[in-house]
Symmetry: C2
Subunit: 428 residues, 2 copies
């Protein structure tokens, strides 16, 4: 029996596996994590609305019913196209057909030394780390007696005005201004400063200009400072430089840039600067008809717009389905797919806070509560598993009513030293 290997258990990988469910082949999904993460809601874990298990599910469980599909918890480091093998950190796996869908991560634009000071948001671990830093900042401020240091501890910088940055900044402002004030004694959490930094002239550049303006307006009403045409030129443990402007901030979060998984470069195809693989119109790798690339890692031009297909969840699902079907055609001897991949743009939506969102669908653009309801509906619908849908709905409803976040746990660091004993080490 032929073996199809899928690298990555994200949207593209899972949709490819689903297309191959009834194919007469052995399908293996390789992922270095045991769970699929619903990435569009990661920011809600980071901002203490949801628990990790609400937006993640074991890949094994998702594919459980398909007996031809198995899951390998392993780290794929490269592909050996000549031997037709995937090289793992601890072994090799042979394939007849390969679908590479290992996605992208954030990029520090060549400044990887910033990473420890400005975590990104791609995995569950990232999200709990962001949550830890965000909540610890208030704890540290509560114990700080020096006014200037306290100000810095209550300053939060989010770099990148795309959907993730906007969602993070909006949620952080709501927490600081609405959820936390009653819990602290020494500090007024409503004085927290949340700064969103965007290099372009507007945020949410994928949306029309009117909606970008609306989103900026909504953010500003929530208390977020939006800085446009602004570039971060350095990041350290105590803050950032924005151009020549120094901002002291205890908590800097990174939501900018795209860097493809390095594995893509081992396929022997041309890659763009971010490392995305330039694939044929049928998503196959040039000269390697047995290898397909799907999801964020694939660089393919949308024929209608002339633009690259965007790195969003619906595009990953569509590419995964297309690649799975293409492999099924090859397995059954029908040859390569006759029609190229076409991205069906179903619309885009971004949320800014409680009942605030912007959306564009089929030429129609709107904002406010209708957009937010659309956002909530879409995200609930695509959550994997009925149980998750129900739990997330209840938690959102609860939060909506009482303005409280249910998952405000700081975990992962058992020894806490918040207070700098250098100045004023005595409290009375």
């Amino acid at each position: 029996m032929k073996r199809v290997v899928i690298i990555g258990g994200g949207f593209a990988g899972l949709y490819a596996a689903r297309s191959l469910g009834r194919a007469g082949a052995r399908v293996t999904i390789i992922d270095r994590r045991n769970h699929h993460v619903f990435q569009p809601l990661l920011y809600q874990v980071a901002t203490a609305s949801l628990s990790p298990a609400d937006i993640a599910a074991p890949i094994r469980h998702i594919v459980g019913r398909r007996s031809n599909t198995d899951v390998l918890l392993a780290e794929a480091v490269s592909v050996d196209p000549h031997a037709r093998e995937v090289v793992l950190r601890d072994g090799r796996v042979g394939y007849d057909y390969l679908i590479v869908a290992c996605g992208v991560t954030h990029s520090y634009f060549g400044n990887d030394q910033w990473a420890p000071f400005a975590p990104g948001l791609k995995s569950i671990e990232d999200a709990t780390e962001v949550r830890r830093r965000f909540l610890l900042a208030f704890e540290a401020a509560e114990r700080e007696t020096n006014a200037q240091s306290r100000r810095a501890k209550l300053t939060f910088v989010v770099v990148g005005g795309g959907p993730t940055g906007v969602e993070l900044a909006g949620a952080m402002a709501e927490i600081a201004h609405r959820s936390l004030p009653a819990d602290f004694r020494a500090i007024d959490t409503t004085t927290a400063r949340i700064i969103l930094v965007e290099g372009e002239a507007r945020i949410l550049t994928a949306f029309p200009e009117t909606l970008s303006d609306r989103a900026r307006h909504d953010l500003e009403r929530l208390g977020v400072e939006v800085r446009l045409n602004a570039r971060v030129t350095s990041v350290d443990a105590n803050g950032v430089m924005i151009g020549a402007d120094r901002i002291d901030a205890a908590c800097v979060l990174w939501a900018a840039g795209v860097a493809a998984e390095p594995l893509g470069r081992s396929l022997g195809a041309e890659c763009d600067r971010a490392g995305r693989v330039k694939v044929n119109a049928d998503l196959s790798v040039p000269g390697r008809p047995e290898i397909f690339v799907a999801g964020d890692l694939a660089l393919v031009v949308d024929r209608r717009t002339g633009q690259p297909v965007p790195g969003v969840a619906p595009a990953a699902m569509q590419m995964g389905r297309y690649a799975g079907n293409a492999v099924r055609g090859l397995l059954s001897g029908r040859g390569m797919p006759g029609k190229p991949f076409r991205y069906l743009d179903k619309g885009i939506v971004a949320t800014i806070g409680r009942a605030r969102a912007v959306a564009c669908m089929r030429g129609l653009c709107f904002a406010g509560i209708p957009a937010w309801l659309l956002w909530a509906g879409i995200h609930i619908f695509f959550l994997i598993g009925f149980r998750n849908r129900l739990l997330v709905m209840i938690q959102w409803a609860w939060e909506w009513i009482v303005f409280q976040r249910g998952a405000r746990l700081i975990t992962g660091n058992s020894r806490v030293v918040l207070h700098d004993p250098g100045h004023d080490s005595r409290q009375s």
Copy 2:
């Protein structure tokens, strides 16, 4: 205004703070974690039934409404009774009255070198680590081709036949035998061996002998091997020695022994071998009427039974309330409490698995579904916060129906190497 300091945000500390809510004093709770953990359900986080946020809540949020109470996220390392100050890792806090309620942890009976191989279960971090090891063992077994190594990877040892050990072993057996089989291809998870090791002649020694036997019988029906009169004499990365008997096991969990927080020894009072502080009948420290000890850390004899008050949640709540009231009496000039602390034993209950439990209340002992319903009712009732109660109920109901665990995430270790490349590094 007088200052009352409470060390520890567990049941004893929170109930003490509640008693002091309307006292004319400033109350400070010190805890090294930002959250209160509902310890009786920690094992459900470890066995992937619940998420950390379901059984934990920020201490700040719990005391939020009481404006005289503040919370300090800090690690208390000792008490300086002469200066009347609590020594933190990063500062000092003065007090007029002190309630020490920092609890106990598990003990390796002087073999602390076993700790890395056999994690215990006292914090959220412990629980996610136990979950990680338990779930990773199946992943590793799935990739293992050597039959003997695979056997070892599917062998789980739980040390300690108290309520935590019994609950862990029962839940692990249910997961291996009921939840996981459909998800794996190469291994049969129903062949997993779960061994519960108890040093005494029976498990659940706090219960009457008939119920201990019933619990053992229930565990065996779930597929757990119960070893009585058995002592673990060594633990390493690959397994345990039980007496002279070697058991190869990839996953060893520790649910035995009691060791008090070392801070208790700095109070200047006599301590027992485990480090618990021998207090007066009114929970005050001998010679230090301004210091009280409450919860698991306090060693106080129950006048009715002549036995020490057990280290269970209801006793901690009662002691916390008593100590808080005692301090309130001192603050108002009424002096030390007239009546000694009396433990009101409301009964004990332990669960063994889905709809299996044993319970003793007011002389009445019973088992089976009535005991399980009692267990579920009590635990739901005492969960902090309505939201948690609702979510936990839904998740239990869901699990009950579909036999699936919702929180099967392996987190915390992003680089996975399960397969030993030494033998058979190639899969085909």
